[in-house]
Amino acid sequence: MILTDEEKGILDGKNGEADRLAMELLVGVGESFGAKKLISISSAHILAHFGSLHQAGIDFLEKLAENGGKCKVPTTVDPSSVDFERWEKFKIPKDYMEKQKRLRTAVEQLGVIPSWSCTPYQAYNVPRFGQNIAWAESSAVAYANSVIGARTNRTCFGLDISAAIIGKIPEFGLYLDENRIGSLLFELKIDKFSDLDYHTIGAIVGKRSGAKIPVIKGIPKDVTNDQLKCLGSAAASAGAVALFHILDVTPEAKLKDPFDGKKPEEVITITQKDLRDMENMISNAEPNSRVEMVTLGCPLLSVEELKTIFDKMKGRKVKKDIYFWIYLTKETYDLGKKLGLITPLEKAGVWFSTQTCATISPVKIWGFSHIMTNSAKCALVTPSEHNLKVSYRDTNECIVTATEPL
């Protein structure tokens, strides 16, 4: 890799120990993956939830913070493993909470915007088309690359904060034009799309694509940003999709042929039946076993999604023998409260939780054996995380399962 004099200076410790460590990691990874140089980034998004980072993650972030590391570019942080305000209500053990607090202190010292959200592109960290960024969080990576046309790899823990501190990332993978060309074509033969269908389409595309770049044909032009958010989150967790193109919808596919003049390696048709089959595959619970908890908000809810849930909840309350947990950003919660969407639902028995989610918090301690969700990502990840069974259903069925008429 060819480094500038300034970069070599950082590697020699001219900017202090934190920058030196971050630079060593960037250069080490860059050399491993054939990067020719480091490129500037306009923003970063990092991981700091204790559930996955463990003590080793604390060690690394604290080392950078104690040695004076500071983010050089706007940097947001993915959800925490606990709700900082409601952790006692959610039965989080005190020592677990202390670990998450250490991570919070470290990221705040490093100058990270404490957003604790998996949807940074909806607030505080909105990239422009073509900008190079270094983001972690697979669903946000899929959204930024695909829907916005910014450029990032699936930046892993360690590399994410190092890029934020230096303001640079090795140039490889999706930063290069030639690696953004589609190879598989998915043709949708579907007339009417429900919200759940976007998750399910994402899951099918993710499973069939692995790490290849899918191109999707047949998504309505009026698809919402939230629906694309859900599609991307499912594709990223069912496979390793970091970038997808949608004909007539996503920017790179609008500007040029996403196959760059070549024929797709394979054309895959998705029918209504394929959606139902995938729904059944994602659910792994016995159909008649009792649901103990219903959860919505993976990815974290936007205000629009909260409005939809509020409308469907009118005249209903949560059943006595079931928990109904809804996850959203702190900002969505506060805005929703101003709109009068929060208090009535809380009175009806809904537990809201902010800056965390069911997938990455220690839900295991509740001992649930069967939960229900309207998110393919949550349904795909949660069983191995929390050792439980999942039913994957649309928002209506989730609400009908969790609630009863007043």
Binding site: V29, S32, L47, H54, A56, S138, C156, A240, E385
Partner: protein, 145 residues
């Protein structure tokens, strides 16, 4: 004494030289929820080496997969003293390389990583065979029984 049977050339990604017994997975491997850092046991229910242990072994698998938190899971496994002695991939990925470089920076632990071998080593050796991994030269040595 060990008798050298074969040297297979590849690419050294991270430095170091070790000799140890092999554990082989033929599938892409995920560290996030795929390994228990407290023991080194493989916990991914879909893995072909489920319930086997990677601690102190030369761990051979084709590719990495899974969440970008994998580098933290792998780093924690190394911190707990349950990491592999070395890694051989067909084509490695940033999650794995990042964790190994962080382990050196934070804990001074060196794990050689070699990939792009001239031939598929998982066809030549089996679990428990003694091999040497040289991350400096980018090669693997197989010994006769």
């Amino acid at each position: 004494m060990k008798k050298l049977k074969e040297i297979i050339k590849g690419r050294g990604v991270t430095p170091g030289y070790v000799e140890g017994s092999a554990i082989i997975s033929k599938q892409a491997f995920m560290f996030a929820h795929g390994v228990d850092p407290k023991s080194g046991d493989v916990t991914d229910i879909r893995s072909d080496i489920l319930d086997k242990n990677i601690k102190g072994k030369v761990f051979i698998f084709p590719f990495g997969k899974g969440s970008t938190t994998g580098s933290a899971w792998f780093l924690e496994t190394i911190r707990e003293g349950n990491g592999p002695l070395a890694i051989i991939n067909r084509e490695t990925e940033p999650i794995i390389a990042t964790a190994i470089i962080m382990a050196k920076l934070l804990y001074g632990i060196e794990i050689p990583l070699v990939d792009r071998l001239e031939k598929d080593i998982s066809d030549i050796i089996k679990d428990g065979d003694m091999i040497a991994v040289d991350g400096n030269k980018g090669e693997v040595r197989i010994f006769a029984d």
